[in-house]
């Protein structure tokens, strides 16, 4: 399986490099948030102190990047279903989980590149974070990205239709994103809203990220964020692999 996953990863990366326009456009979203929204946030909540504002704003943006960057990967899978690519691969001797794991590794690399660009720009604008916290933050993003990728591939294989997938994603993602506190911390809102948010999945990596940026490694939110994201990643990845097995009989 490792050999096959590596083969698929290599193939997907080469395909990505041949047409780098789309991932480059994907980079723009977090950058635009950083340039066009973070100053508003800093002005409103931190009297213009961009460094302090970014300590709160950047973790949310990184989690949002992980979610959106990976969720969109599912659309490509629907194309591959329709063109018969996945069916052809399913008849090959390649390990079936590796067909998806190779793609997820590619998504992770893309996510790390996007995060790196975001972080460099953040540093230029005054954001500060320690090395250990940064590494843990990237690890949390990988877990979040894998969870989102697993969900996206699973949904694509279950719906087999980009319109259905788009509608479901929009229906589910908008409330979850708003309740994650990625744009504005939920603590700024009424207590009941924060309580509701606690029961949604993306709230926890956002809070974990904020604790890491604050250097508070002992914060329970850090552990909770990792446990929830890793657990959900395991669930969504096994769901997507089961979807591929169903497709392949």
């Amino acid at each position: 399986m490792i050999r096959d996953t590596w083969l698929f990863f290599g193939y997907e990366m080469r395909a990505l490099m041949r047409n780098p326009v789309w991932p480059l456009l994907g980079l723009m979203q977090p950058v635009l948030y950083l340039l066009l929204f973070a100053p508003l946030f800093a002005g409103q909540a931190f009297n213009g102190d961009m460094g302090k504002a970014l300590d709160v704003f950047a973790p949310g943006m990184l989690v949002m990047t992980a979610l959106f960057s990976s969720f969109t990967a599912g659309y490509g899978t629907i194309m591959e279903l329709k063109s018969g690519v996945l069916e052809r691969l399913a008849v090959s001797p390649a390990s079936r989980p590796s067909i998806l794991l190779g793609r997820m590794l590619r998504d992770t690399v893309m996510l790390l590149v996007q995060s790196a660009v975001f972080l460099v720009l953040g540093f230029v604008l005054g954001m500060r974070i320690g090395v250990v916290a940064l590494l843990l933050m990237l690890l949390l993003m990988v877990a979040t990205g894998l969870m989102a990728a697993g969900a996206a591939y699973g949904l694509a294989l279950a719906t087999k239709d980009e319109n259905a997938m788009g509608s479901i994603m929009q229906f589910v993602m908008l409330p979850l994103m708003l309740l994650s506190g990625a744009l504005l911390p939920m603590a700024y809102g009424p207590a009941w809203l924060e309580k509701v948010a606690w029961f949604t999945p993306f709230y926890h990596p956002t809070e974990a990220g904020r604790a890491l940026f604050a250097g508070d490694f002992g914060d329970f939110n850090v552990l909770l964020g990792f446990v929830i994201m890793l657990g959900l990643a395991a669930l969504t990845i096994s769901w997507s692999v089961r979807g591929l097995r169903r497709l392949a009989g």
Binding site: D4, L7, Y11, R14, A15, R18, N19, M79, E80, K82, S83, G84, V85, E87, R88, L89, A90, V91, S92, P93, A94, A248, G249
Partner: protein, 317 residues
């Protein structure tokens, strides 16, 4: 024998607001394919051809029945079956954004081909793909993409290739070109199981064929054997009164059939029967709008076995 399938069955269940629906896609299919043979599964859309191929390719597990594919038990050794076959689906399986060379190279690596570069070059040359091997597949014509799809199925030199409706949607020139390529596979010793709804394709390419309808094989044999079952000639007439025509011509025919606006008269010896038949129609004052005489075709076999023409099912276009 490269394929020995016995009594394969597959039923699909779909759930909707109207309730649970069960579709018996394959009711009972048994087929034997010899090594080096091009074996055709001919039938209209929805006959169960694709389901049969998908079962034999390990994509769908049959509800019952057994099969040996390339010497391996389909149910117990699906991994070994997959190693021994090439599979080209109806959709083709070509990645639009990647060049044929990159895709075929990757295919060779997945199958663990020893000399990847040589295998890829050989397939590209064999299928006349060298000229556009490095262009993204989306820039290729339909016929070229089909050849890439076959290349993807052949790069690991499998002893058996499944082709599911390989020429659907191609223009006549590209279809004929692909027939030549498929025929070459037989010369190179590759066994082929192909599904088609084109009568001419089955007739021109297949060493043996099974005619499938509603999930069962209604006839099996070589094209000549099948046509011999419908001995003699077929006189096809368009008349102003088909019913009366069938009645008055019955004494001359082994069988008459009204098929839409066409009366088919099956006779032993068309050349000698035709004059008497024309005389009778004239005497009975039946007006002939058109007349044609042909030897029995696979469509006549299908008509005789199922009571309807394959052309009427919308399969031929």
């Amino acid at each position: 024998m490269i394929i020995d399938a016995r009594e394969l069955r597959k039923t699909f269940t779909t759930k909707s607001r109207k309730g649970t629906q069960t579709v018996e896609a394959v009711k009972e299919v048994s087929l034997q394919v010899d090594k080096g043979q091009i074996y055709g599964v001919l039938g209209p859309n929805g006959a169960g051809k694709t389901t049969t191929i998908r079962m034999l390719a390990t994509l769908i597990t049959p509800d019952s029945g057994t099969a040996t594919v390339a010497g391996h038990n389909l149910l117990k050794e699906p991994g070994l079956v997959r190693r021994s076959l090439g599979y080209v689906s109806q959709a083709g399986g070509v990645d639009e954004n990647v060049s044929p060379r990159a895709q075929i190279t990757f295919g060779a690596r997945i199958y663990g081909v020893a000399d990847v570069e040589n295998a890829v070059e050989s397939v590209l040359k064999r299928l006349d793909l060298v000229e556009f091997a490095d262009r993204p597949a989306r820039t290729l014509s339909g016929g070229q993409k089909r050849r890439v799809a076959i290349g993807l199925g052949l790069v690991h030199s499998p002893p058996l290739l499944f082709l599911d409706e390989p020429t659907t949607g191609l223009d006549p020139q590209n279809r004929a070109n692909l027939w030549d390529r498929i025929a070459e596979l037989r010369e190179q010793g590759t066994s082929v199981l192909l599904s088609t709804h084109y009568l001419e394709e089955a007739d021109a390419l297949c060493d043996r064929l099974a005619i499938v309808d509603h999930g069962v094989i209604v006839a099996e044999g070589t094209a000549s054997e099948l046509k011999r079952q419908i001995q003699g000639d077929v006189i096809s007439l368009r008349l102003d009164d088909l019913g009366r025509g069938a009645e008055v011509l019955a004494p001359y025919a082994k069988e008459t059939r009204v098929d839409d606006d066409l009366l088919r008269v099956y006779v032993d010896d068309g050349e000698h029967t035709l004059p008497s038949l024309l005389r009778t129609l004239e005497e009975r004052q039946l007006q002939i709008k058109s007349i044609a005489m042909t030897s029995a075709t696979l469509d006549d076999v299908f008509l005789a076995k199922t009571g309807r023409s394959l052309r009427d099912t919308g399969a031929e276009s």
